[in-house]
Amino acid sequence: MAGKLKVALVGNPNSGKTSLFNQLTGLNQQTANFPGVTVERHTGFCKMSDGSIAEITDLPGMYSLYPRSLDERIVAEFLLNHRSKDCPDVVVVVADATNLKRGLLLLTQIVDIGLPVVLALNMMDQAAKAGINYDLHKMQQLLGVRVIPTNARTGYGVDTLKQALLQTHTATQQPVYALDNDVLAVVKELREKTGVDNDYEAYQLLEQPVIPSFLSDDEKEIVQSLKKKYNLFPGKYHGAETIQRYGFIQDLLDQVTIRKADEEWKRYTFRLDRILTHRIYGYVIFLFILLLIFQSIFSWATLPMDWIDTLFASLSNYLSNNLPEGPLTKLLADGIVPGIGGIVMFVPQIAILFAFISILEESGYMARVVFIMDKIMRKFGLNGRSVVPLMSGVACAIPAILSTRMIDNWKERLITILVTPFMSCSARIPVFTILIALIIPEETVLGVFNLQGLTLMGLYLLGFFAAIGSAWVLKKLLRSAERSYLLLELPPYRMPRWNNVGITIFDKTRSFVVEAGKIILAISIVLWVLSSYGPSSQMKEAEMRARGEAAELQLAEDELQDKIAAYQLEQSYAGKIGKAIEPIIKPLGYDWKIGIALLTSFAAREVFVGTMATIYSIGSRADDENTIKSRMQQEINPDTGGPRFTFATGLSLLLFYTFAMQCMSTLAVVYRETQSWKWPLLQLVFMSALAYVSALVAYQYFA
């Protein structure tokens, strides 16, 4: 065979498809996007018994070729585009052996579009436990496809499956669904005009809710005019088709089922559901899990975060001491390395969060969260499924926004995307920490609570309420004819598969580092250039002035360097920009130095601390927050003669950072996900305006 064997994995959600994918490929995976859209395409490579390599694509879970969500539409188009070079040579339909009917529905559709198919009958161990027994030989005969029993948890059947992949080259010739007599003529005409090689495939092109994007403009025109001529519309024969297919499947199951399941094996699920979806305990448990996640993000992640921080600080130090002095070394040591460090520092938090989310999803609990939260979320124009993105938003808005794709209603998905950045992400933590330490006394209230901790929690709640509040406003403003519905499987509870959890953590973390990394890195370089350079005569003059003052005060060498840096910053391009916006931010209680930090924070919030460090000339000791804190405490406001960071200014900054949309990476992702600049711009303007107004009110009230 020329080239690699291309294999696609399809199956219902919860069929264990991803476990099987992980079994086949291990960590040998990559994530790319489908061309033109941002639906993630997971591919991996698998070594076959004959020494060849197969390329395996794991497609998002789906119930039928008739798509409901964006994810499903991409899969449908992927499978229908037979002329593409990506078109799979073999499709593995993964079906849950304990729940076979719906899996077979999808299988019969894929058989009918003329792709070679292998059925992986997964979760055989559970089926055996439940007492289910099938005559696999007969099933194979009746379906006309290879049936391989597998257990993706243990790897059972994976080798046999690989063998079967090498042997399956031809599609089954006998379609399951007999097309309605009324459409035979239009299907024939389409096949003559476009050369589509199979009746059902042609029929699918006509019946897809959106005309497939891979067709050429001429072909789209043909499809459009045929639909008109024959009065076809999506869904016209869909119900009849489903009934016919299920008729076939029921007939088949009647013949191959040796023993049926009783419901005894789901007893634990029913019992657990009685507690986990209980009127009171259900919410208490969910709240407890949220608190646990919170606690771990804050306390367990701090230690590795500090290590990473120290590591990058010493790397940067090492570079500046050991490389020949010059602008390139400075760029590397002061711009690029701290920039990368700023991204990598968030990896522990993101990894922990996704460990939790992945465990909750794997165990089946997440479906229950959607179930108990749906009614509440709907009041705010959201959907039960919005809970996952909002939770992920506490670590980082980027993966959170990517996870909105499973929301099938466009309006609800859009609202979720727009409000998710209000959730306090981990990039706000360093900003909050230092400002709270500055303005809130370390006191204990009511005997147990730490006042600083309470303030931090208050800010998170504020972000959450801003999210659902604006969701409610958006619900009133946005018009949509599309219906919202919820048809969600509640799968039996299962032990999470740790292998899958590990791979999810790895995958999400990697995509965060890449996605956010590109932008944060670029911005930190730009920021570094702007703050290091200025009109050369003024920069020189600043240095002279610093040297003069230093000589007078008899400062040590490193203190002199700090002073030079501080004076030069004022004259740099960044300093000039900061001065230019000072009039706008003065009512909020900020000066030009804070202005620079605000501007750079629009690239990414966490840059605030680093910028403050540079501005208050701490130089090499920039990573010690205590040092920054004491410098900030000593900063004098020349207008009042008192400290710059009063309670009013600090509070005003805290509110600004709670609400403002300060993350280029998120805006870029929102643009890609909504395919329009309208939404990210609206988000930017709305969130910034809210930030400005609340900061203004707070400062004016308390100052």
Partner: protein, 74 residues
């Protein structure tokens, strides 16, 4: 009297006899809610909506307004 899925009480079963919403019925049928199939109402979410039913050998949750489009006979 015409009954819908919402008339069932927890633990009660019925047989699907039809749908009142064409658009939704297609999706429901794909999920295994075919006419002639037995459904059991299991329980509702804490706020009464959505609900959980057993159909075609698995557990499905759906909102009350969707359940109301499914006709059943007891």
């Amino acid at each position: 009297m015409v009954r819908t899925l919402t008339d069932l009480k927890p633990g009660e079963q019925g047989i699907i006899s039809g749908f009142s919403d064409d658009q939704l019925s297609v999706k429901l049928m794909e999920m295994g809610c075919l006419p002639g199939t037995t459904v059991r109402y299991n329980f509702s979410a804490p706020l009464g909506d959505p609900i959980c039913i057993s159909v075609a050998g698995y557990e499905l949750s759906l909102r009350l307004e969707e359940a109301a489009t499914i006709f059943i006979i007891l």
